[in-house]
């Protein structure tokens, strides 16, 4: 008998597969992409009762092996052992939603027919019980010919039993049926079998599912539903700003204190300047926005885990249909408010290729969290902190306006694209609305940690590197006495060369300089401004507050507004372009995307500057 090394979780979408994966493997997961496709490959370690570790893979949810999306294609290839570089799993764990047996057993039969050692996790059994279903796992096990273990992943029920069953799966392999001798079973036949097996496994059933239906009555109500969705979105964006402020202030103060500590303890010189002006001022000004990103992702994860996200897609479908998209595009676009990269990756659930391409092309117009630092600093610097109505501040209103500008821009662009480059039939919208459930805190925390880590890694690598390189370019060659350091530096010379292009739209040289590293990551625009002004000042205060003062002192209002308008449409960071390339299999669409965004950004920044100047602001 060969040792069990690799097992994979398979099942329909919404069977609670990811929650089970989290419960079985804990937080130590490796998330990467399958080469060539942007489908997440999640691998964790499961320790068997014998003490032996098993590599557990979480495969994308599938309705069948007859793949309809890139996700399902990955699942099929990995399970069949056809995925290049991925060994065939030694055992499979089918995750079934206990309350949707009849539907989920259709795919389960396909999996079992492969003849690989298989265990069934009869998951979310508590929700089935809540819906008045009483199930007989033993009968199900007998009908399917494989072990069946009832589990509640989010409450950690049945995990030990499941692990034990996986451990013995190999031994059972001989006893289990070998590859199905009748591989050409039709879908209606499978469906009939599924119905009969489900019927036999259900001991009693009441047709009540009150909580679910009651919530849907309100949340999918023709008028209340949209109202509630917009109220939720309003609360989310309020929270992102209000709740994050104390944490952001604390981080900023921490960066200032750290900088002071370095200044006090190290001799003045090149290295000390590099650390305070380059690293702490640069990276610090970006890390400050971690709280906002975490809060936004918290709400997105909460909406996904509770089952509400699919309802939001339902509610938004009609609106999205008016610009030629479907409600399915709403989820990637909402994620894009945090970051366009997971947003573009989430488009893989959109089956229609033209729909998906359009969504990818407009995703960068959603104001990602990396643009928040830029908006935040400039708004704080040039927009007076006054109230236009009780509880409605002018600064918040301007911010809302920037978000809306991005959304309206995206809708108009989608409409134009669907009538030109991605012309085609109106897309369909078919989506399962999963049952509501209380999300497990652990799943939320794991999700949040993974997102925060991605952001911090960016801050520690690409943003760090860009900041240091920029600082070096700003520091050398040294200026002659009486000459401005920025003017003399390499960076200053580059900016001077580029400046004629951006001068007509009101950008000063520091802004022009900030645009270059902002292509690496948008938030670098802020650290770049911070570094530029820090290099030029004798001030010891290199924090965000100091930068704010500089901007309000040195920039005119039209210039600041033009900079904001630029970032509504600005071509996105290099990582987004890379993801778009991978998603669209070539450079054609990313090039198109960068081109149209650049044109829009230039036009709108210019328009803003000229109008604001004409208005005498």
């Amino acid at each position: 008998m060969t040792r069990l090394r690799r097992a994979a979780l398979v099942g329909n979408p919404n069977a609670g597969k990811s929650a089970l994966f989290n419960a079985l493997t804990g937080a130590r997961q490796k998330i990467a992409n399958y080469p060539g496709v942007t489908v997440e490959r999640k691998v964790g370690r499961l320790v068997l009762p014998s003490g032996e570790p098993v590599e557990l893979i979480d495969l994308p949810g599938s309705y069948s092996f007859d793949a309809a999306s890139p996700d399902e294609e990955v699942t099929r290839k990995v399970v069949m052992g056809e995925f290049p570089g991925e060994a065939k799993p030694d055992a499979l764990v089918i995750v079934l939603d206990a309350a949707n047996l009849e539907q989920h057993l259709v795919f389960a039969q396909e999996v079992i027919a492969l003849g690989v050692p298989t265990v069934v996790a009869l998951n979310m059994i508590d929700l089935a019980e809540r819906d008045g279903l009483v199930l007989d796992p033993a009968a199900l096990s007998q009908a399917l010919g494989v072990p069946v273990v009832p589990t509640v992943a989010v409450r950690r029920r049945g995990l030990a039993e499941l692990t034990e069953a996986i451990g013995s799966a190999e031994e059972l392999a001989d006893a289990q049926s070998h590859p199905d001798p009748r591989p050409h079973i039709t879908l209606p036949e499978r469906r009939l079998t599924a119905r009969n097996i489900a019927k036999a496994a259900i001991l009693s059933e009441s047709t009540e599912h009150r909580i679910h239906a009651g919530l849907d009555k309100v949340l999918l109500h023709p008028w209340l539903g949209p109202l509630i969705l917009f109220a939720i979105l309003f609360v989310i964006f309020q929270a992102v700003f209000a709740w994050a402020t104390p944490f952001a202030d604390a981080l900023d103060a921490g960066a200032g204190a750290l900088s002071g500590l370095v200044v006090a303890n190290f001799p003045a010189g090149f290295l000390r300047d590099l650390v305070t002006e380059g690293v702490i001022a640069g990276v610090g000004s970006v890390v400050v926005f971690l709280p906002q990103i975490v809060i936004l992702f918290f709400f997105i994860l909460l909406m996904e885990a509770s089952g509400y996200m699919a309802r939001a897609a339902f509610v938004m479908d009609r609106m999205m249909a008016s610009v030629g998209l479907s409600g399915k595009s709403f989820i990637p676009l909402l994620s894009s408010f945090a970051c366009a990269i997971p947003g573009i990756m989430a488009t893989r659930s959109i089956a229609d290729p033209k729909d998906r391409l359009t969504t990818i092309l407009i995703a960068p117009l959603m104001t990602c969290s990396a643009r928040l630092p830029v908006y935040g600093i400039i708004i704080a610097a040039v927009i007076p902190n006054t109230s236009v109505a009780p509880f409605v501040g002018l600064q918040g209103l301007v911010l809302l306006g920037l978000y809306l500008a991005g959304i309206v821009g995206a809708m108009v662009v989608a409409l134009v694209l669907r009538k030109s480059v991605t012309k085609g039939d109106a897309s369909g919208f078919i989506m399962e609305l999963p049952r509501y459930q209380l999300p497990a805190v652990k799943d939320l925390l794991i999700g949040l940690w993974q997102r925060a880590w991605v952001f911090l890694r960016r801050a520690g690598t690409i943003i760090f590197a860009a900041t240091v390189v920029l600082w070096l370019l700003l520091t050398f060659p040294k200026a002659d006495p009486g000459e401005s350091q920025v003017d003399a530096s390499f960076a200053g010379q580059i900016a001077t060369a580029m400046h004629p292009v951006f001068e007509p739209i009101g950008f000063n040289r520091e802004m022009t300089l900030a645009l270059v590293p902002a292509m690496a990551a948008r938030e670098v625009a802020v650290s770049s401004l911070a570094t530029t002004y820090a290099v030029d000042s004798d001030d010891e205060d290199k924090t965000l507050a100091a930068l704010e003062g500089k901007i309000s002192q040195l920039w005119g209002l039209p210039t600041a507004l033009a900079f904001l308008a630029w970032f509504v449409f600005a071509p996105q960071c290099v990582s987004t372009i890379a993801v778009a390339r991978r998603e669209t299999n070539g450079w054609k669409w990313p090039a198109f995307m960068v081109g149209y965004l650049f044109a829009l950004a230039y036009a709108f920044a210019g328009l803003t500057y000229w109008l604001a100047t004409a208005a005498g602001l």
Partner: protein, 79 residues
């Protein structure tokens, strides 16, 4: 009558589907979800902001959202 014309809450069985009126990928997805001839369904919700789109149907214990155009391709009979 078509599924589109079915009243909310009324139980029905799909007796025929004109798959030519449904995009091939959509058809694949609908069949994978069990929405096919013989399926017992009911409409749970219809429309947002005064429109008749999209539609949420119950099949077994699943709720599936689809478009009016899909529902128009399906012939149903009352149960």
């Amino acid at each position: 009558m078509t599924l589109e014309a079915l009243a909310i809450g009324q139980r029905a069985r799909i007796v025929a589907v004109d798959w030519d009126r449904v995009a091939p990928e959509d058809g694949k997805r609908l069949r994978a979800l069990g929405i096919d001839e013989g399926a017992r369904i009911a409409i749970a919700h219809r429309g947002v902001l005064g429109g008749r789109d999209p539609i949420a149907i119950m099949i077994g214990r699943m709720t599936i959202a689809l478009r009016r155009a899909h529902a128009e391709a399906m012939t149903v009979e009352h149960l």
